[in-house]
Amino acid sequence: MELNYDFMVQTFPAILKGIPVTLEITLVSLLVAAPVSFFMALIRIYQVNILRQLVRVYVSFIRGTPMVLQILVVYSLLPSLLNYLIKSLGWAFNVFEIDPAWYAYVVFTLNTIALLSEVFRSALLSVNEGQIEAGLSVGMTLPQVYRRIIIPQAMVAALPNLCNLAVNLIKNTSLAFLMTVKDITATGKIAASYGYNYIEAYVDVFVVYLILCTLVQLLFSFAEKQVGAFRQLKYN
């Protein structure tokens, strides 16, 4: 067995083209999910009636069902249904023209919301109750206390888990290829298919992820240091 190095070198730039797609899905999902999941975390922490039940079911359902099914529903069934509706209403809009990236955004955002809400919940619970009381007692509103005191402290516990989530998301966007969205892995597979250069393509893909995810992780650990400046390090 010998590797086709020419192929690897030639394919590398093509695979790099998958990076923006991967990052777009990752960023959109994280940014849209963040506020939603934060409120879901609050609903569970403060045990808001009914809503709390809804959140639990949502998290459990999204987390518990295979993504392939979710993609099947969102990408295959939903547009068919919409198309049927729109046609029967006599509108001219063509559902099938919608860029599949949108479906990817939807699926990955729904998943990120579920996971992120649990990350936030645990992080918020790690902050001492007395911090809220102190904030309220100097005349801040609860949202102000959260923004200024609780969230900055919770971030310290949240960031490592957020990093886990972000890195996993970057890798998992490869599932978007089920919806014809070509991320890093997909570009590799396409390049590999003609000459069956799978090993070479996977090595390329690996290198790209290695660079990309290392950067992301460095970013997070830098952020963790910044946010955690108030805390004394515990190395002993």
Partner: protein, 266 residues
Amino acid sequence: GCGNGTDKKANSEANTTEKKVVRVAFTNYYVPYDFVNQAGEPDGFEVQVMKEVEKLLPQYQFKFEPTSDDDLLIGVESGKYDVGIKGVWQTEARKTKFIFPKNNIAASVIGLTFRKSDADKIKDMDSFAKIGGKLVPIAPQNAQYAVVEDYNKKHPDTPIKLLPSESFQVADAYTWVLEGRYDAFFDIELAYKNNVVNDKGTYHKFNDQLAYVRYNAIPTYPIFNKKDQEFADAYDKAIEQLTQSGKIKELEQKYFGEDLLQLVKK
């Protein structure tokens, strides 16, 4: 080195009574060519042919390994498996990676499924390519993908719009064609027959709304690890015997209901 499979063979060769073990990887989900049946056993036309080949080669003992396409390709290339069967088309690029035997193992008949209402416009691949119809995306590791790529290489002026996508293993493609999301679906004929034409097929009720046109029958080959030339030659001899004895035809009838190999343009 990568060829630990051959090392082992070298050992067993010294011991003449012992058979050489060859690992035959086959893809899981490629019905009716290669798959795992309800009883959990290796099955499919290509698998059965290989079993017949084994009978003719007393010096070898086959060990069938169901696996994914990706693993099959990497495994045969690296020597973890000696042979792989997954309905492989022959291309020049692939020949640099694997040994292709002289004789094909099977043939794949593929063509276009489209809406019957388009029957006046779509008569064959060429007419489909000309109207610039939308083709249901194909997984790049699938055999069909390479066929369309090949077609496009030969017809650079009127290429078919080929969209890659991971495949769902889902027959939703028929729905997609029916509702106009795509104009045609490039698939093996057998799937169409079983799903739509067969009156027990789940999509049979759309039989009068769908149509199928055959594109080509293409020979498919087992792929051998680069170090297994000797075994590949033995395979070729066995296949010739099987063809002559009519065993292949018999299996074709069993799995396809017709003589596919005859359709292959020589």
